[in-house]
């Protein structure tokens, strides 16, 4: 188990990226309190592509925000790379992609991508190098000098992914990043995201409403149920890592989609 010879931050290859044990989160107190997460147990390993799927209000966003140390759990244990979420943030463990691209309108695309790099104190030369790299990665080379309003919604979302990729976080947290985009753009971005994942070997936590999207992208699908938010079922996908879009017509794909749908239905049946 111990392989401290690994150069980057001494992390153990076998150590889970995310480990939640008996995680609870209650918003507010008294009559109006909401149990957003109840007894969450989950392990995410290095290189996993994990989707969180479930009806609105089942705590998907809240769980992702706990990992990012944007919310503080009220009970249980949560580690990111073996550290507390706050420590992990200080180590730049993750990049976060919100549902809206949230690019700063007063910055060009390049300057938007530089934002985290400026804050983290990268040198000018390093900043320029990385911007060029990630723009290439999300196929936006040549758009660096444009302002956000000059780009389509899909391109803006790609730019926001580039921004999350610019510093070397091994973990990418994405909260319904393509939720506001139309089906065709979404398909394209899903395909690109898979390629990017294969190329960079990152671990990805991905929240979605869409069953096909979850099945197409994931190695692991976490089906959640609401009131209180908990994990109903974790489905490991047997699909190969290399996935063309038409894999969605294969029996294996349809079979998993069916299991997810059943899981969601059963989860809804709770209390």
């Amino acid at each position: 188990m111990k392989t401290n010879s690994q150069v980057d931050s001494g992390q153990d290859a076998a150590q889970p990226v995310i480990e939640a044990r008996g995680l609870n989160l209650v918003f507010g107190t008294g009559e109006t309190s909401v149990q957003a997460l109840k007894d969450i147990n989950l392990t995410i390993d290095r290189g996993d592509f994990v989707s969180f799927i479930g009806p609105s209000g089942c705590g998907k966003t809240t769980f992702l925000r706990c990992i990012a140390a944007l919310e503080t759990p009220t009970g249980g244990r949560l580690t990111v790379n073996g550290m507390t979420p706050e420590e992990a943030r200080k180590q730049r463990a993750y990049g976060y992609v919100f549902q809206a691209a949230g690019l700063y309108p007063w910055r060009t695309i390049s300057k938007n991508i530089k934002l985290p790099l400026e804050i983290m104190g990268y040198s000018k030369a390093e900043q320029n190098k990385r911007v060029a790299e990630v723009l290439e990665l999300v196929e936006l080379s040549g758009f660096g000098g444009k302002f956000p309003w000059q780009l389509s919604g899909g391109m803006q979302q790609r730019a926001s992914i580039a921004r999350a990729l610019a510093f070397d976080a091994d973990l990418l947290l994405m909260d319904e990043p393509f939720g506001a985009l139309d089906e065709i753009v979404r398909d394209h971005l899903n395909e690109q995201l898979l390629k990017l994942w294969a190329r960079t070997n990152k671990t990805i936590g991905f929240v979605t409403h869409s069953i096909p999207e979850a099945v197409y992208l994931s190695t692991k699908i976490v089906v959640m149920s609401p009131r209180p938010g908990r994990i109903h079922e974790v489905i490991d996908s047997p699909l190969p890592k290399d996935r063309p879009l038409d894999i969605r017509d294969t029996p294996a794909f349809i079979e998993i989609a069916h299991r997810v749908r059943e899981g969601l239905r059963a989860g809804h049946g709770h209390d």
Binding site: A69, R92, Y94, F147, W149
Partner: protein, 305 residues
């Protein structure tokens, strides 16, 4: 083209109403003068005319109507009288002359700009404090609001007297009164602007582990720029009002306020009105200048044209 036409129509309407208003406003003065010159007017005593309605007098003395627009000290000067006065006291006078409106405007302008700079600086500092400290939010904001409920016309003499007693006079007291009026819109606008980033933008900065300073310089301040400029435009106009009010209690010999004061001492309504117009034109120019700066800055900040 269409907008130019509409604007001109409105201006023509206002000028028309103005000319009409001169008739009832000035008729008594015209009749008094006519009687002194030996002409027959109805009724024939000044007392009776004072009790009569203005429209009644107009109806009974139609011969005098065409004189209401050329009275020497009219109650309401006609537009062309004001325009003529403006022309003669600006273009036709050397700027160094005590009778040049440009000279007086420039005296008021320097107090306005200094006050505006002080007020804006104070307003921005206060807004930063208010946004970053709950204590300041709860303690400063109510006082800022209270400060604006006191009529400046009551406060100005006190400020001048207090400052005079500690040996401060001249430009600074006027600038302080101007600052007193202009800091408030800046505080209100900047507090709103600095708080305008939404939760997602704030969360994004948190995920980067940004410090308070970085959050301010990279997110809050740029977000507040449109709000700042809206406030500055109100603030500069308020500064001008403050500078003029600041000239009144001192019996200042120079400045647009001094012109207003001198005009009202000697019943020189044309002078009063031309000083008023000079102030309005000056305010318009200052606001327009801020608009130009705003467009160029926000343009460079990538705001969609």
């Amino acid at each position: 083209m269409k907008t130019v036409f509409s604007v001109l129509t409105v201006v023509a309407g206002i000028v028309g109403i103005w000319y009409l208003a001169c008739v009832p406003m000035n008729i008594k003065g015209v009749l008094d003068q006519a009687q002194r010159a030996g002409e027959e007017v109805v009724p024939d005593t000044a007392n009776a005319r004072r009790d009569a309605g203005a429209f009644d007098l107009v109806a009974k003395n139609t011969f005098a109507i065409n004189r209401v627009w050329s009275v020497e000290r009219p109650r309401l000067p006609a537009p062309h009288q004001v325009a003529t006065e403006l022309w003669q006291t600006t273009v036709m006078k050397k700027v160094t002359s005590k009778r040049s409106l440009i000279y007086h405007a420039q005296v008021t302008l320097s107090a306005t700009l200094l006050g505006f700079a002080l007020g804006t600086g104070l307003g921005i500092l206060l807004s930063i404090g208010i946004v970053h400290s709950r204590v300041m939010d709860m303690s400063v904001m109510p006082w800022a609001i209270v400060s604006q409920t006191i009529p400046i016309i009551a406060l100005a003499p006190m400020i001048i007297v207090v400052l005079y007693s500690i040996g401060v006079q001249g430009l600074l007291p006027k600038a302080i009164i101007a600052a007193y009026l202009s800091f408030f819109p800046v505080v209100v606008g900047m507090v709103k602007g600095l708080r305008s980033p939404d939760q997602m933008q704030l969360d994004l900065m948190r995920t980067y582990g940004a410090s308070g300073g970085q959050l301010f310089w990279k997110l809050r301040l740029p977000s507040s720029m449109p709000y700042l400029f809206a406030s500055l435009k109100i603030g500069i106009a308020a500064s001008l009002v403050g500078a003029i009010v600041g000239e009144l209690p001192t019996g200042a010999v120079a400045g647009l306020g001094a012109r207003l004061l001198a005009g009202s001492y000697y019943g020189q309504t044309v002078q009063i009105w031309s000083a008023l117009f000079a102030a309005a034109i000056l305010a318009g120019l200052l606001v327009a200048l801020l608009g130009v700066i705003e467009r160029s800055l926000l343009g460079r900040m990538g705001v969609k044209p």
